[in-house]
């Protein structure tokens, strides 16, 4: 999505030069948004009359859940760009995003479980959404493991891209399957996570800031990791050349 109209940044050199300028700004902005959003949410919002202070968890749960899914979507787009246009930066960006996505998924899972615990009375309920995130986590693991396992970087990029596309389809199928399955077992989920729908302004503004913080954090981390991956590839190329004499 991000790079669709910006093909020239798919050139590693240009990418390095541009991100070199942009990255500090994004990082600082990400830090500011995160701190403001979370501090605001944690210290300066009232408790919900029904859920008490657990409502404060949404400032972590909603943004991380959002970014866990968006990170995968970004990887999917980057994989498609790599397969179609063979831009190296695209493949490396997909690789760079995966561990960040895993982290967000873990945060979403943990905060979801903690949030639900007082409501459900159990640490882990097979709530459809929570279960879907667990499955997403497994997809991330497989993706990262495949990257690590294949030696030739271009082969790895190709294979992981194919996996990402196929995995996306199956992740979507799993989402619907899990919904279906849970209906069949219990009478619906006991706790809906749809806080967004009837949320009061007083919760909404800090949440928006926190979401912006997570988005910026994701962008900053992915840019930085992509830069590292580009350097690693360059290092690999140089070492190859040294060996060839």
């Amino acid at each position: 999505m991000k790079r669709m109209s910006l093909w020239e940044y798919a050139n590693p050199k240009k990418f390095m030069a541009t991100t070199n300028v942009v990255l500090p700004w994004i990082s600082v902005l990400a830090a500011i948004c995160l701190v403001v959003g979370l501090v605001w949410g944690f210290f300066f919002t009232p408790d919900d009359f029904r859920q008490g202070s657990t409502v404060k968890i949404i400032y972590l749960h909603v943004p991380s859940a959002l970014m866990a899914i968006n990170a995968w979507l970004m990887m999917l787009v980057a994989s498609l760009i790599w397969l179609v246009r063979r831009h190296h930066v695209s493949a490396l960006a997909a690789r760079a995003a995966a561990p960040v996505g895993i982290t967000f998924t873990l945060i979403a899972l943990f905060t979801g479980a903690v949030w639900g615990q007082p409501m459900w009375g159990t640490w882990w309920a097979w709530d459809p959404r929570l279960t879907s995130f667990l499955i997403l986590f497994l997809f991330y693991l497989g993706y990262v493991a495949l990257w690590e396992a294949v030696e030739n970087p271009d082969t790895a990029a190709d294979l992981t891209s194919v996996l990402c596309i196929v995995g996306s389809v199956f992740a979507l199928l799993s989402r619907y399957a899990v919904n279906f399955w849970n209906q069949g077992l219990h009478q619906g989920a006991t706790l809906s996570m749809d806080k967004e729908e009837n949320i009061a302004d007083i919760f909404w503004y800090p949440l928006l800031v926190a979401i912006a913080g997570f988005v910026l954090l994701f962008v900053a981390l992915v840019l930085m990791r992509t830069r590292t991956e580009i350097r690693a590839r360059r290092l690999h190329a140089l070492q190859m050349r040294e060996r060839m004499g």
């Binding site: 300066f44 008490g52 561990p99 903690v114 690693a232």
Partner: protein, 50 residues
């Protein structure tokens, strides 16, 4: 410190674990960036000399 009531443990653990995870991924990213950068600089220097 805001009054967290009977859910204090849950809320605090959610924040604690989440922040720890964020710090971990940021640290990992920065450290790896630094390590790769150093190795690359060395390789570039070798290339420049040789």
């Amino acid at each position: 410190m805001p009054e967290l009531g009977k859910y204090a443990v849950w809320v605090l653990s959610a924040y604690g674990v989440s922040l720890a995870l964020i710090v971990a991924i940021v640290l990992q990213t920065v450290l790896r960036a630094r390590r790769v950068r150093e190795r690359l600089d060395k390789a570039e220097a070798r290339r420049g000399n040789g």
